[in-house]
Amino acid sequence: MNAPSLLLVAAVAVLYSSGFYLLLQRSLMRVVFGILILGHAANLSLLVTDTAITLPPLLGGEPGQQLSDPLPHAMALTAIVITFGVTTFLLALAYRVWLDDENDEVPDDLEDRRISRLKEPEDSS
């Protein structure tokens, strides 16, 4: 019925996979890139829930034409803008981390590392 074409499904799969892969890296910028790609993947997912109709949802054309589903477009638009806002913040954050650490990496939590480096519990009380 209205399942998207296999090609689009594959594109979505590749986008998600590469987004996840970048997300799992230590480099700050690659994490940001991962989020960007994942955002694309999610927006594309919203879009392809629609059938293969390619007419823009603009009224006023010839009556009786089947237009593409506008709701996913609206949601994807909202999502794009949200992702944009949040990505800029993430960028600023990444830049800040880099400034502080002189290091293009997501730093580990020090207290966790301290605890996991211990050989045994700190105190017995």
Binding site: T49, L71, V86, L93, E122
Partner: protein, 508 residues
């Protein structure tokens, strides 16, 4: 009713805009913030009054009927949570104002006030959203505000923590968005009531996949084991006022979302086994983490993770009693966690840090502080006669009533967790509050109390006391609270009523 449902969103947003404009005049910012939140408290109280008998209040934005426009919905569950969260938000704001007045904070009020009000709007929208995508937007509003808040006074540790926090939250948001795409693909709608209605016809296997996906999505935000690791690495590092609000509200909003989606959308799908296992693991792993830490804030954060398990346990039972227990536990936990973090903030003021290795004799430093810690600590451990006890009894009763292997596993985990919480929290008490305080701490206290920041410190202490009082009030009002809890739980389980209230009688 239209106005009552819109006020908790629009008033904080207007407040945020006004405080953004008034960034040069802290005084008017404070007045705006306090007024705004007071209005929200009143609106939430009215809403709860209106819905206390199980009425479901709805408002159609733009006057478009339900599946076309966005619906705002308040049932007893959301109204109750709205009221509690806005009270907590107001008190924490007053605490922050006291801190600012006393010059005891490194936060920048120009940013704090607007963003805090945006956070309020986001939390409220999440509670009131009757639409899946709108819920997503509510979450995003709340989360973006939280990104801004967690980086207040950005020290290295805070920046590092917020990197973890932001990335994990974004991952969850992306998965949420994907989930919405899937729901729309399956049903062609995003209105919660409509989705609930139309999912009936969907293949059960796919429905189950979606149920589990949403469990993961909200589970990340609710810090459910094994997706909880980010929380103890980020919350404790933030400013007190902010970790208090995060601990009290953000995870609870996610728990609310879990409850809402699992009961309304996926009631037909039996996720109870998964939920019960997750609940048990969350309880145990969380509290084991708390036993190892040496920083009070981190102990509280792990305890927070652990007690999320209790609420999920109530949901996993799937009975009226279980859900009522979960709702009551939510209310209790919001207040208690906020109180404990505020107390930690006072400890920071007095001692300069919250590391257990170097704090002694707080009882001697400030008896009020000792009382303020002791009562919520008891409550967290579930000891009577405080709210934690009532909430725990509600859950345990529901578990015993339900019976079965999973219920008993949950009960066993609940008992063990309560005991370990007791050990963890009284480890803090015996080490930090008893003993002889260091002389320099006493000196610093005298300076603090006689210096220019005296007034601010008093406000902070008073507001912490107010939060303790709210906790005691929750315990005293356990009768009405449990009544509302049961009404709310019945409402949660009665998806038909929700659908009818939103879509009208003609639905289906």
């Amino acid at each position: 009713m239209n106005a009552l449902l819109a006020v908790p969103l629009l008033v904080p947003l207007c407040g945020a805009a006004v405080t953004l404009l008034l960034r040069r005049t802290p005084r008017s910012q404070r007045i705006t913030g306090t007024t705004t939140l007071s209005v929200v408290v009143v609106a939430a109280a009215l809403l709860l009054w209106h819905t206390r008998d199980g009425t479901i209040a709805t408002a159609q934005a733009g006057a478009w009927e339900a599946p076309l426009g966005i619906t705002l919905v308040a049932d007893p569950t959301s109204a109750l949570l709205l009221l509690v969260s806005s009270v907590v938000l107001l008190i924490v704001l007053l605490y922050a104002i006291g801190q600012d007045i006393g010059g005891l904070s490194r936060a920048t009020p120009q940013v704090f006030h607007p963003v805090y009000l945006v956070l309020t709007a986001g939390v409220n929208l999440s509670f009131l959203a009757g639409d899946l995508f709108n819920l997503f937007v509510g979450f995003e509003v709340m989360l973006t505000a939280s990104y801004a808040l967690i980086t207040q006074a950005p020290t290295r540790a805070r920046v590092r923590a917020s990197m973890i926090y932001t990335t994990v939250s974004l991952t969850s948001s992306i998965l949420f968005l994907t989930g919405i795409a899937l729901v729309y693909a399956l049903t062609g709608t995003v209105n919660l009531a409509d989705v609930s209605d139309k999912l009936d016809a969907a293949p059960p296997a796919l429905r189950m996949v979606l149920a589990l996906l949403f469990l993961v999505v909200f589970g990340i935000k609710a810090a459910v084991v094994p997706m909880h690791f980010w929380l103890p690495d980020s919350y404790p590092v933030a400013l007190t006022r902010i970790s208090a609000i995060f601990a009290a509200l953000l995870t609870k909003v996610a728990v609310y979302a879990v409850i809402r989606t699992q009961t309304l959308l996926f009631a037909r799908d039996d996720t109870s086994a998964v939920l019960a296992v997750i609940a048990v693991v969350t309880m145990i792993v969380g509290i084991l983490g708390a036993l190892v830490q040496s920083d009070i804030n981190r102990i509280m954060s792990f305890a927070l993770v652990s007690h999320i398990g209790f609420m999920l346990f109530g949901l996993a039972l799937g009975t009226v009693a279980g859900l009522a227990g979960a709702v009551v536990y939510l209310v209790h936990h919001i207040v208690v966690q906020a109180t404990l973090f505020l107390v930690n903030g006072l400890i920071r003021q007095y001692v300069g840090h919250t590391s257990l290795t170097d704090i002694r004799g707080l009882t001697a430093v400030s008896p009020a502080l000792a009382v303020f810690f002791f009562l919520p600590a008891l409550s967290l451990a579930g000891l009577p006669p405080l709210s934690g006890f009532v909430a725990k009894v509600a859950l345990f009763q529901a578990g015993v009533d339900a019976g079965g292997l999973l219920a008993w596993a949950g009960l066993a985990a609940g008992v063990l967790t309560s005991l370990l919480t007791l050990i963890a929290i009284f480890r803090v008490w015996t080490r930090a509050f008893w003993g002889t305080p260091r002389p320099d701490v006493l000196e610093a206290r005298e300076q603090l109390r006689s210096g220019a920041n005296r007034g601010g410190l008093r406000i902070m202490t008073a507001t912490t006391g107010a939060m303790v009082a709210v906790g005691v009030a929750v315990a005293l009002a356990a009768g009405p609270l449990t009544e509302v809890g049961f009404t709310a739980a019945e409402g949660l389980l009665d998806g038909r009523a929700y659908v009818t209230a939103v879509l009208g009688e003609g639905a289906r």
